[in-house]
């Protein structure tokens, strides 16, 4: 079954300098129990895409889509109140910077317990006076939500969860905070977890542990994961399928194995060439020349054309439709690639 189905999603910001199209007609789908990667440079619109799915884009952001279906239900038609019951409960998010994503004035355990109280009917009041009382005399250690908080901390492998739960975020290390964030995100057993660069701020050993954590989540909680990153190594290690994004548009999608062994879009190829590889000794890495264009009224058809080594004049003129370029579901949006079996997927 499809967990998340996105078709032609656009997120635009009206600014004094013009309309910024941060996400420009993106298609994406995530199946049950799948880890899907979303890769791209900084500024390619990955995070905005993630926030658009949860409808967290703030004014003046405007989200439109032909389809934004979560478990078959259109998210864009939900009211704000309905969205608050979905956020944290059915779709959760883990953020990039674990140093800043926990509230410094609330204990870690309480932050998890609060999420549980918000979404699960366990007979604990979430009214303001009740919360004030909890703040002053401390949350009951016998309450269902607190028990659940400790359980969650244990499941993300925080040592001594009972005593650690009463600590404030500044008493946690970076890796532990990210685990705590994951614990919060998973406390209500969501169906979809969006991890927005969850390992970027962490060093490699912790990164490996967190990625392992994500894998075990998949098994234990049966959660689909959308993993956003700019780190190809992370994708190679974790994801089932990969989507490559550039300047607000998808340029290529394939299974992980296929993408790494047979990259087709010039951007993906350049991205891989600019990453160090252990097996092949390379004298010098090849950076991609230039920078991501500002997403305000990009005048040329293929957004990558000005930086593309293979660009021809028609690249600037003709919208690149997705075409099948390899085995199975391997598709790329580049007119310089010959479609396999002549199959071109029309973009409307």
């Amino acid at each position: 079954m499809t967990m998340l189905q996105i078709e032609n999603l656009r997120t635009e910001f009206e600014t004094p300098r013009g309309t910024v199209t941060a996400v420009n007609g993106v298609d994406l789908h995530i199946d049950n129990g799948e880890i899907v990667g979303l890769v791209g440079e900084s500024g390619s619109g990955k995070s905005v895409l993630a926030q658009s799915v949860m409808r967290l884009v703030e004014d003046p952001g405007e989200i439109t889509a032909d389809e934004l279906l979560f478990k078959g239900e259109p998210l864009l038609e939900k009211s704000e109140a309905e969205m608050t019951t979905i956020r944290g409960n059915e779709i959760s998010m883990v953020f990039q910077d674990p140093m800043n994503s926990l509230n410094p004035t609330i204990t870690v355990g309480e932050q998890i317990a609060e999420t549980v109280r918000l979404h699960q009917d366990i007979g604990e009041s979430i009214s303001l006076p009740a919360e004030m009382k909890r703040k002053i005399i401390g949350a009951s250690k016998a309450s269902e939500s607190w028990r659940r908080a400790i359980e969650m901390l244990e499941s993300v492998q925080i040592p001594h969860p009972e005593s650690r739960a009463t600590d404030y975020p500044h008493e946690f290390s970076g890796g532990m905070r990210q685990r705590a964030m994951i614990a919060i995100a998973l406390s209500c057993e969501p169906d979809l977890l969006i991890a927005d660069e969850p390992t970027t701020a962490l060093d490699v050993t912790i990164q490996a542990q967190i990625l392992e954590e994500l894998h075990s989540i998949l098994e234990v909680f049966d959660t689909s994961i959308l993993l956003i990153t700019h780190d190809l190594a992370v994708v190679a290690e974790t994801c089932d399928r990969v989507n490559v994004m550039y300047a607000g548009e998808m340029v290529e999608r394939a299974t992980t194995r296929e993408l790494f062994s047979n990259p087709q879009h010039p951007y993906t190829q350049a991205l891989l060439a600019s990453t160090p590889q252990v097996e092949t000794a390379v004298e010098e890495l090849e950076p991609i020349p230039g920078t991501v264009p500002e997403p305000i009224d990009i005048p040329y058809a293929c957004h990558f054309a000005p930086r593309c080594p293979e660009a021809k004049e028609e690249c600037f003129e003709v919208d690149p439709a997705f075409r099948r370029v390899g085995s199975e579901d391997h598709e790329a949006a580049c007119i310089r690639r010959d479609p396999v079996d002549g199959e071109v997927i029309e973009n409307e």
Binding site: L56, D59, T85, R87, N103, T105, I106, S163, E171
Partner: protein
């Protein structure tokens, strides 16, 4: 040779076998306290900061003394607040007369003298502390509640709501607060503590609103606010649980700095005859009454004036040191 040398230091006889190593490691793990004490006490830091600063100690002591005086005024004051003795008595003088009504002549000492009605000045000042404290606290509480609400809503929602609320605050900002308070008292009609509190409280709203809005604008961009929204927290909850607790330090400091201003404002209103009822003992009223007799009886206005000065100064010093204590960056620098 050098290789042999380095390995010799960790020869096999010294090395622990894995089981042994694990056993020892576990012992250390179990012994080491899990709770980190690092940064545990914000309160302790504030206490240390105050104790290390002489001005802060002075401020805190005087503030405590002031609160204590106000609380136990009837026990501290030597006489009843409206008992009358000889009028315009000098400090350190005595009135003689039958004040207890038992037919005998009493000799009564006035440490600060008496006023033009014959009230003992020290008694009046002690009771005046009650009014000053009451007015100051309720005023600041009122201004804090309304001002914080305005600042929170304006800062959080932004846009048109922000525009409307803050233009109102700007309007009030541009208006001299004592004139606004005087106007409000005229509007509310009549003298009395409640009206004074409302008048001064309203005049102080803008300070809190601006401060809180500024804090909210920076805090709402923090990732934990976005994270809170991502777990399905409602707007009201984000404002009260995520944003407000993180803005509390500057608000507390602002409160300690507004209390002396409220005391002065109350005194000024009483001085102008717009404050509490004339028979109530307040510092401002004493000051105003003494003005007429400044040539014959300087003490009537000087001592209440001194009381105001000392209390205001004490609150300011206390507030300053609180601000330093809450300012993490500054305290880190001074510790190094």
């Amino acid at each position: 040779m050098s290789n042999d040398h380095t390995t010799a230091g960790r020869s096999d006889s010294d090395a622990l076998d894995p089981d042994e190593r694990e056993r020892i490691a576990r012992r250390y793990r179990d012994e080491s306290p899990v709770e980190s004490t690092e940064n545990r006490g914000v309160y302790r830091r504030i206490r240390d900061q105050i104790l290390s600063d002489k001005k802060a100690i002075f401020g805190a002591t005087m503030v405590l003394l002031f609160v204590f005086t106000a609380m136990f005024a009837p026990m501290i004051a030597p006489y009843e607040q409206d008992e009358t003795f000889g009028i315009n008595q000098e400090p350190n003088s005595y009135s003689e007369g039958d004040y207890t009504g038992n037919g005998e002549i009493d000799r009564v000492w006035h440490v600060l003298g008496t006023d033009s009605f014959g009230h003992d000045l020290f008694t009046r000042i002690v009771f005046g502390a009650r009014i000053s404290l009451l007015v100051a606290l309720t005023t600041v509480a009122f201004a804090f509640t309304v001002g914080t609400a305005i600042g929170l809503i304006a800062g959080y929602y932004g846009g048109l709501i922000d525009e409307l609320l803050m233009r109102y605050v700007d309007f009030q900002w541009a208006f001299p607060s004592i004139i606004l308070a005087a106007g409000l008292i005229a509007f509310l009609g009549g003298l009395g503590v409640t009206n004074v509190v409302i008048a001064i409280g309203v005049a102080f709203i803008d300070d809190f609103a601006r401060l809180v809005r500024g804090e909210v604008l920076s805090i709402r961009e923090e990732e934990y606010v976005l994270a809170a929204r991502a777990i399905g927290t409602s707007d009201r909850r984000i404002m009260t649980k995520e944003i407000l607790p993180n803005a509390v330090a500057p608000i507390i400091v602002q409160m300690t700095l507004m209390i002396p201003l409220a005391i002065i404002a109350e005194a000024a209103l009483s001085f102008l005859g717009l404050g509490v009822k004339p028979t109530t003992p307040t510092w401002g009223l004493l000051l105003a009454e003494g003005r007429q007799y400044i040539n014959q009886a300087w003490w009537i206005s000087v001592f209440p004036g001194l009381a105001i000065m000392v209390v205001v100064l004490a609150f300011n010093m206390f507030g300053d040191s609180l601000r330093d204590a809450f300012d993490v960056k500054q305290s880190e620098v001074s510790e190094k």
